[in-house]
């Protein structure tokens, strides 16, 4: 897949699901390759369980505003986020959904909706906390942005060695799911 000039992503979920971590990893990886990167948490839930959203933009050209009201790419980790983001994906874009939790989806032809049961996959791994890394792996693979290596580097920097190994495993699981289900 050819490199984009400008890439946009919104990740949404609840506090504790690690949506901010997904955005951090993508942005950090992008910072190695793109001149301009912005990352913005629209809302950071205080308590675990409150809504949390983050946006990432990277580009070869100056980014006027770091905030996004709609995006080419979006990830919804649970229903609240899905209900918001389903209205904010640009035509022709894609929306990745945690289909373990979000079960009621609105059909649309405007953009692609991709269902990935990351909570189930995480449970399979015996690591419920890793649902977000599974999603990250699927997202990297599906979008083709950046490179796996850059994302790994960012993940490694963010977590300790032990946790990185697990995160990488989760990432691979997400990637495999995307590949095996013809999403790429």
């Amino acid at each position: 897949m050819s490199e984009e000039k400008r890439h946009e992503l919104i990740v949404g979920g609840t506090g504790g699901q690690g949506v901010i971590t997904i955005a951090y990893a993508i942005a950090a990886a992008a910072s190695e390759k793109y001149k301009y990167v912005t990352r913005f948490p629209i809302y950071m839930a205080t308590q675990r369980g409150g809504p949390a959203l983050a946006t990432v933009i990277f580009s070869d050209e100056e980014i006027p505003a770091p905030i996004l009201s709609s995006s080419d790419n979006a990830i919804a980790m649970e229903s609240g986020a899905y209900n918001r983001l389903k209205k904010e994906v640009n035509p022709g874009g894609r929306l990745l959904v945690n289909s373990s939790i979000v079960t009621k989806l609105t059909e649309t032809d405007e953009y692609k909706t991709l269902r990935i049961p990351v909570t189930d996959l995480a449970q399979e791994m015996g690591k419920p906390q890793m649902a977000n890394m599974i999603m990250l792996g699927a997202y990297r693979e599906i979008s083709g942005v950046l490179t796996e290596e850059l994302v790994f580097k960012a993940m490694e920097k963010d977590s300790g060695e032990d946790r990185f190994a697990v995160a990488k495993e989760a990432f691979e699981k997400g990637k495999a799911y995307a590949v095996n289900n013809g999403m790429v």
Binding site: Q17, G49, E78, S100, I101, T119, Q123, P128, A131
Partner: protein
């Protein structure tokens, strides 16, 4: 046979495991089911041991546990 019925409101449950730990009879265990929010809620595993003490109810932070007892049939 189990005298008390312990009901978990899985929508409220956040899977913290407090009820599991605080049960003096180890009647409860976190199950492999999760709710809409992704939390794994507990299930009764030793119903016959339950004394109806209510520790699980009182200590559940999310108002998710209820303990029932049989209705005494008066006049029979």
């Amino acid at each position: 046979m189990a005298v008390y019925e312990v009901v978990i409101d899985d929508k409220r449950c956040k899977g913290c495991g407090i009820c599991v730990i605080s049960c003096p009879k180890d009647c409860l265990e976190i199950s492999s089911n999760f709710n809409q929010a992704g939390y794994y809620y507990p299930a009764m595993v030793k119903a016959e041991d339950c004394t109806g003490c209510g520790a699980c109810v009182k200590l559940c932070p999310d108002f998710a546990v209820t303990v029932y007892e049989p209705l005494e049939e008066t006049g029979s």
